[in-house]
Symmetry: C2
Subunit: 320 residues, 2 copies
DNA sequence: CTGAAAGCGCTTACAG
DNA sequence: CTGAAAGCGCTTACAG
């Protein structure tokens, strides 16, 4: 760790090039409508390069009123594979448009100010809907908040795909395995509700249970007793728990118990038997997020009220 | 998405409270050495609250020269479980000290400026050592760069623990399973080298191979032929690949082939048989990172040149 | 064709 | 006890 050197400013460049600070700004920002000789432009650029000049972001943001930054507050629950993939794609797309995506962690113990105050992003795009007061507080900072038009209940079509897959493969008594990760309760409830409806529509029965490591074998035994032959899971980790319990119970998978996960995370391919799962169009979703942010940054309304393209589809492997 | 309202400034608060802007600043920042009547203080605070005044971060950073922000550029390779845990802890610790930790993604396609320019953090703390020119460029921005005193070769004692565990359990021909994730090559090489040394010291033989999904069974067959009975893996995903291949080959684990992973990621408990692995003191490492950043922010040298407490230790499960 | 000046929102010596 | 003023580093009308 060495001591930082004093950074060079536009004034330094101006002095070195023998021009005014405005000229430096005009040249370096290629401001249109200015008539500056090529010789001067060359000189300014050369001096800027020589001095390693980089405009000070805070000063620029202060005067321009925009930081070209998008803040994504992460949800309370641990961020899973799918969301990471989506955010990676959103980040790349925003980068192409000259915007930087920053995610904020789930700690806000309170000593540091909230990241939107520290960062002063142009846009805040929360994954989970913010509390109304919180959103209002952010807006009072002059920041635009992008709220999704849809709540969790619209993102559960993947459950239909799980149920349809199991029904197609001849299962008539199903179970839904949900999880207890704190903060995911609402999402879990929405998915169970959707599973119930899908099963009712298909005329099959549905059990459900919260599955944890310590109870997985017990749950599996109960389900077997109730005639369950196919299980849809909240995510791949929960499915792995079911799969493990089934194996330890000496059940054959999928002939005695079929299991389908959700998210198609890396673990799905690593399990034996490999896990059928639900894959999302994370690229499409990521670009959709980026488009929402960019539209908000441009000051307009969201691009389309259309639902993003989830394209949830079954990846069929050995477990079903 | 609603249009943002104009945010209120210190000038608004001053006008509303009938005082000067300096007084507002003194009151709100509790600047010591000022003698301001309680009545005035009350009034300023009340108006600030009523107007929802929040100091503009960029203006404040511009004048104070500090943003109370720590930037952690993430490595090129996909961030695994252990690093996330470490960063979560570092984030919480920094938050307690009033600093915000921001991580920068691995995209820098180049249209957006590097995050350190956009963010102007006080400290940059890269996980992987930065290229010298890059570090120099950051320092020219007046930002302190914290370089670890140690390179990867010092973080491989966990390999000793893997080898010792297998040797303790009676294995005399070992194998090291490495991975091909781009960017992790150096780390992988360092660990294999360490495994070789540990095996030489223990007087046991060592094979090694890069393991991928498509080649895992082949590799396992080869190893069996060479008499290998214990495998140490670069990470838990690679171990899962070996485990899966062993099961598909009809081998009994651990009696015919023992496997130990690395990182103790969630998958280790989900596999059947459950995977022995190496757990780190992520809490200690996270706090160590935070301490390094804080020491740098305070302007001093790093707190201690001591190595961080990795405390790598074996978590013994069914696979060994 | 180029520079002096104002101003973004704040903090902090310095006068009263 | 409190306010006027300078200045952080930039951008951008506005004069020459």
């Amino acid at each position: 760790m060495t001591t930082p050197t004093r950074r060079s400013t536009a004034a330094d460049v101006a002095a070195a090039a023998g021009v005014s600070r405005s000229t430096v700004s005009f040249v370096l920002n290629a401001t249109p409508g200015q008539t500056i000789s090529d010789a001067v432009r060359q000189r300014v650029r050369a001096e800027a390069a020589r001095l390693g000049y980089r405009p000070h972001a805070h000063a620029r943001a202060l005067v321009s009123g925009a930081s070209r930054t998008v803040l994504v507050p992460l949800p309370e629950w641990p961020v899973e594979y799918v969301l990471r993939q989506i955010l990676d794609e959103a980040e790349a797309t925003l980068d192409d448009a000259g915007y930087t995506l920053v995610t904020s962690g789930r700690h806000h113990s309170g000593n540091a100010r909230p990241l939107w105050e520290t960062l002063q992003p142009d846009i805040v795009l929360p994954i989970e809907r913010l509390a109304a007061e919180e959103a209002a507080a952010i807006r009072e900072l002059g920041i635009r908040v992008v709220e999704f038009d849809s709540d969790e209940t619209e993102y559960v079509e993947s459950v239909d795909a799980q149920v349809a897959h199991l029904v197609d493969r001849g299962h008539r008594v199903l179970a839904y395995a949900s999880t207890t990760v704190p903060g995911m309760g609402r999402m879990s409830d929405a998915r169970i509700a959707r599973a119930r409806r899908a099963c009712a529509d298909a005329g099959v029965r549905l059990q459900d249970a919260v599955v944890e490591e310590s109870t997985a074998r017990f749950v599996v035994r109960e389900w077997r007793r109730a005639g369950v032959t196919g299980v849809a899971s909240f995510n791949d980790d929960t499915a792995a728990l079911i799969l493990g319990a089934a194996i330890r119970e000496g059940l054959r998978v999928p002939s005695e118990l079929a299991v389908i996960g959700h998210d198609d995370s890396p673990i799905a391919r690593l399990l034996v038997p490999s896990l059928s799962s639900i894959r999302f169009d994370t690229t499409g979703l990521g670009r959709h997020l980026a488009a929402l942010a960019l539209a908000a940054a441009a000051g307009g309304p969201p691009p389309t009220a259309q639902r993003p393209p989830t394209h949830a589809r079954v990846v069929h492997r050995e477990s079903t």
